[in-house]
Symmetry: C2
Subunit: 637 residues, 2 copies
Amino acid sequence: MNLKKQCQLSVRAFKAEGFIEKYQSLISKTVIPYQYSVLNDKAPDTEKSHVVQNFINAGKTLKGDTDHDGFYGMVFQDSDAAKWIEAVAYSLSNCPDKELEATADELIDIIANAQDSDGYLNTYYTIKDKDKRWTNLLEGHELYCSGHMMEAACAYYEATGKDKLLNVMLKNAEHIYDVFITNGHKGYPGHPEVELALLKLYSATGNKHCLELAEHFINIRGVDSDYYKKEREKRNWTVWGNNAEDNNYQQSGMPVRKMSDAVGHAVRAVYLYTGMADLASSTGDKELFSACVRLWESITQRQMYITGGIGSTVHGEAFSVDYDLPNDTAYAETCASIGLMFFASRMLENDINSEYADVMEQAFYNTVLAGIQLDGKRFFYVNPLEIVPGISGISPTHHHTLTLRPKWYACACCPLNVSRLISSIAMYAYGENSDTAFCHMFAAGEVSFQNGMKIKCRTSYPYDFNITYEIEKGGRLAIRIPHWSKTLTLKVNGKNITKEPVKGYIYLDACDGDIIELSLDDTPRFVYASTKVPELTGKVALRRGPLVYCFEGVDNNGDVLSISLKRNGKVTVSNENDNTLNGAVKLIVEAVRTKQIDDLYSDTPLENKSCTAVAVPYYTWGNRGENQMRVWMNEIN
Amino acid sequence: MNLKKQCQLSVRAFKAEGFIEKYQSLISKTVIPYQYSVLNDKAPDTEKSHVVQNFINAGKTLKGDTDHDGFYGMVFQDSDAAKWIEAVAYSLSNCPDKELEATADELIDIIANAQDSDGYLNTYYTIKDKDKRWTNLLEGHELYCSGHMMEAACAYYEATGKDKLLNVMLKNAEHIYDVFITNGHKGYPGHPEVELALLKLYSATGNKHCLELAEHFINIRGVDSDYYKKEREKRNWTVWGNNAEDNNYQQSGMPVRKMSDAVGHAVRAVYLYTGMADLASSTGDKELFSACVRLWESITQRQMYITGGIGSTVHGEAFSVDYDLPNDTAYAETCASIGLMFFASRMLENDINSEYADVMEQAFYNTVLAGIQLDGKRFFYVNPLEIVPGISGISPTHHHTLTLRPKWYACACCPLNVSRLISSIAMYAYGENSDTAFCHMFAAGEVSFQNGMKIKCRTSYPYDFNITYEIEKGGRLAIRIPHWSKTLTLKVNGKNITKEPVKGYIYLDACDGDIIELSLDDTPRFVYASTKVPELTGKVALRRGPLVYCFEGVDNNGDVLSISLKRNGKVTVSNENDNTLNGAVKLIVEAVRTKQIDDLYSDTPLENKSCTAVAVPYYTWGNRGENQMRVWMNEIN
C-alpha cells in the first residue's frame, strides 16, 4: 500500500460496534443469505435472477456442452454475482463464517470455469455469441462486469487470502490489455467502472498493466466523441437500442480533463469520476484533479438533493440541469449515492477536506440506508423526497417513485451495491497514511491502522453526538468536524482543549492511553435551499447531525400535505421507547395543520390550527406501510 | 334551430366591441392572413404545412395525375384547412371581407376537387393508399378530419349562405353512413370530434343520418373495448405505433354511459364529452347527461388548473390522476381548454348553471388567450404555470414547456383552434331559447337574438366590472353571476333591485328601452388550493374577475422565485398607462423577497425583506422575452 497519500482503511482493520455493527450484522446474517437465494432463484415471489446459472451455463458452453437453458437477465447480470462475492468478502472480515466462505468458494469455482482460455469472462457473450465480444462497448457492459469481478477478487483476496478469483481477474485484465493496448481496440467503456476496479487491482497486486489500462480508458474517453456512433454503424445488433449519439448519457462528449458539468447517467458519471480522482491521486495529475473538483462542485453545489441523492431525472437515470431538483419525481438512484460516496472517498485521497467527507456521510445516512428495508429484505432503487399514495407510482410522471420497497429488481444493481457498501463502511469511515489516522465518519468500534496506530471509538452516533476515542497505540489523529456542527467541545484526558480545524479536520498528536472526547452539536436544524431551486422555495427541511428527517402519514394522522412547520418552531427530541424503527429517534416539531377543504380552489383563506408534527429519519421511511412522506415542508411564520 | 333548449348564439347575431372586438379584429386582420400564408407554405421561417397543396395533390390523384409532390404532414393535416375555413366563416360575420371570402371560396373549390366520387374526403389516404381507408381508426384521423370539415361547412354556410362545402360534407356524411351503418363497419373514431360535428351538421340541415351517425359513434364507443386491438392485429401498418391497448388514451375502455373519471388524451376526452353532452340535450338522454356530469366533476373538481388548463401530463397529452397538477411540467394544451369550453357550452344546453359558464370563462380568459401572442403571430401549444429559464424547455422533464411562443408547429392544431374560438366567441358568450336571452359571459357589443330580443352590452370587462345592458327589444334576460363575485349591485333604470340568482343566473323581464346595470366585485382575490394537491400546498394565486394573474421576471427584477406574497397583503390595481401588454391591468402586491444565498442548502434562516411584487394577467405572459413566470406563489404570514 502506498501510504504517502491518504488511503481507505482496510475492512479487516475495523470491528464495528453500535449502529454500524447492527447494520453489518443484518447484512451478514440476513441480506447476504437472502440475496444468495435470489441469485440462485430460490427466493419465493421475487424477480428471476439466474445469475449463478448463467455462469454454470457459460462453463458448459466453453466445454461444448449446449444442454442448458442459456443466458437470462440483463447484459450486465454477471455483476450481481461479483457484487455478492465482494459483499461476502467484507462480511467475512466483519463476521467470520466458514459456511458462507465455502459457499463463496464454490461460486468462485463456477465463475473460474466460465472463463475462456484467453482470459475472457462474460456469460452473456460466452453463451449467446462469442463473435459479438467487444463489438458493443456502448451497451455491452463487458468491461463493467469485469470491473465488478476485479473488485470482488481484490476484496476476497484481502479477506481470505485466497487468490483463485484474483488470478482469474488478473488473467482477464491481461486479456483486456491485449485487446485494448496490444491490439489497439479504439473503444472505451459504455458504463465506466473498470477504471476504478483496475486501480484497485493495481493497488492489490502492483500489476502495472492494470494501472496502464486504467489510465488508458480514462485518457481515451471522449477524445473521439463519435466512437459510439461509429461502433453502432459497424454492428447490426443492439441490446436496448441505446442512442449512440447521446454523449451526455455515456460520458463521452469530451476528454475527461475538459469536463465541468456533471451530466448524463448518474451512476456512469460518478463511477467515472471515482476512477479519475483515484488516478489523479495515484499519479499526482493536477489537471485531472481540477476536473474532478469542477465535477464535484457541479454535483454538490447545484445538483444534489439534501439526502445526498443525485441524478434527479428518470429520463436516462440522469443528472438534469442545475437546480432542477423535484421532490416527487426524483430519481436519486441508490447506486448513484453509493457512487457519490466512492467519488468522495477518492477526493479525500487527493485533498483532506471535510467537504468531501460531509457529503459522503450525507449520502450514506440518508439515501444509501434508505435503499434497504430495516429488516434487510426489501430495497429501493429510486429515492424520492415526497410520496403521495394515489399519485406516486401511478401518475405517468411518477411510475418510478414506488411507495414501498420491492423484494428485488430485474435490474438488481442497487440491492447488491447496498450490501457491499454497508459491509465495507470501514473504507469510508476511516483512512490513514504513514503517520496519520483519519476519522472521517464517527463509526463506533476498534480500528487497527497499518501505520501502527490503534484506537477505539465509542459513540451512539448518529443518535448521540458525544464521541470518545480511546487511544491504544498513539500517533497523529485527524478528526473531521462536520460543517453542520455549530458547537464543538474537545477534551483530551478530561481537559478542554481548543484547536482550529484545518479544512474541517482537527489534528491531534495522541499518545498511548489518551482519551479524546468530542461533543458535536445535537440541535435539530431547519435547513433552507437556495431560491434558485424552484421546487424548494418557501420550504424547510429538518436535520439532526447527519440525518435528514421526513414526515410520514403514519405519525401524522395520515396527512402530511396539510402540515406546515412553524418558522423557528420548537423541536423536541422524542424519548419514546418505540422500537418499530430499530431505535431511530423521532423529532417533534411545532407546526400548523391547514383544514382540508372540498373545493379544488377557494378564495376563502385556508384555516390553520396549531399542532405538532412528528418527523422520522429519512432512511426509515416506507417501513410501516404505504403512506404520505415529505422531506421538504412548507414553512409558516 | 331547436329553440326549446338553450342554444348557442349564432356568430352573425353579435357585433363585438371593446376587449373582444380587439381580439376578433386581430384574428381577422392579422391571424387569418398569417395562418393562410403558413398553410400555403409562404410564411418565412415557419414549419412547413403543405395542407393546401395536399388537397391540390389529392385532386390530381383522383384524376389519375401523379405528377405532384405527394402528401406531407400529419395524418390529420387536412383539419388545419378545415379550421382555417371555419375561422374565416366566423370572421366574415365579424368583419365582412370580400377578398378573404373569395380566397376561402377558392380553397373550398380545391377541397371539393379532392373528394372522391363516393364522397370520401381525406388527402392522406387519397394520395398515399386508397386501400388503407377505414382500416386504422385508432390513428387514422379520417373521421376527425371529416368532423372538422363538417364544422367548417356549417360555419361557412351560416356566414355566407354558400352551400358548396356543406354539400361536399353532406355527401361525405352519407359515405360515412354507408360505411359504418349500412355496411356495418364495427369501428369508432380514434380521436373523437366527428360526433359533435355531425350534430352541428344535423342542426344546420336537419339530415337525420347525421344524428343517427353521431348517436351510433357515441353508443358503440367502448362497447367492444378490444376493437382497436383487433384492428391493429388485422393491419400490417401503423402511423405512429400508437398502443392499441391503451383504452384510456383513446377513450375506449367502457361504454360512455359508464364513464366517471376523465382519463387519457385530454383533447380526445373533451371533444367526446362535448358530443355526448350535445346528444344528451338533443335527445333528452338523462343517463348520458349523468355521465357528462360525472366527467365534468372529475375534470373541474379534481384535475383542472386554476387557469382552466386540463391534461396535466405530457405523457399522452393526457389527464394524469386526481390532484396531480404540477405547475412547471404542466401540459395543459391550448386545444384541451378550447375543448373544455365546448364541453361547458353543451352542458349549459342541458342545464343552465353558472358552474359551467364560470369554467368556460376561466378557460377562455386564461389558457385559451395565453395560446396566442398579443401580436397574433405566435402560439403556445403547452401552457405551464411556472417557467424558469435554464430548466423550462431544457430539462428532460420540461422539454415541452417552452419559454416563448413559437411561430408554428408541425402539429398545428392549437393555433387554428384559437382562431376559430376567438372569432366565434358569441357562441359561448350568449345563448338563447324561445323566450330567454342568456348572458353567459360579459362580452360588450350588440346582440340580436333569434327569439326577437335585441340588447347592447357595454363594458370594459375583464378590466372593468360594471356591465350595462341596454334593452332595445325586451324579453326574459338571464344574466350569469360569477361565483367569484362576492358583491353584486343590480339596477334597472337606475333603481337598485334585489334578485336571488337561480343556479347562478339572475332572471329579469326586461322591457324595450330598459337600462340594466350590473356591478360585479372588482377586488383582487387570493386563491388557495385544496391541500390534496401536493404541488400547491403553502401556495397562493391571485385573481381579479375571471383573470388569473402571474408574476414575470421582467416586472420583478428578473427573479420571481425568491418572492413570497404576504398573507392578506394589500393588492393595488395599477393605473400605469403602459400599453406594452395591450392595456392589460397590472396588480401590485405586498410581498417579501428572500435574499439569494450561494449555498445550495443552508441552516441559516433565509433573510426576507419587504417588497412589492407586480403581477400581470396570465394570458399576457411570455410577450416580453424569456423570463421567469409563476402563477402559484409562496405565501408568508
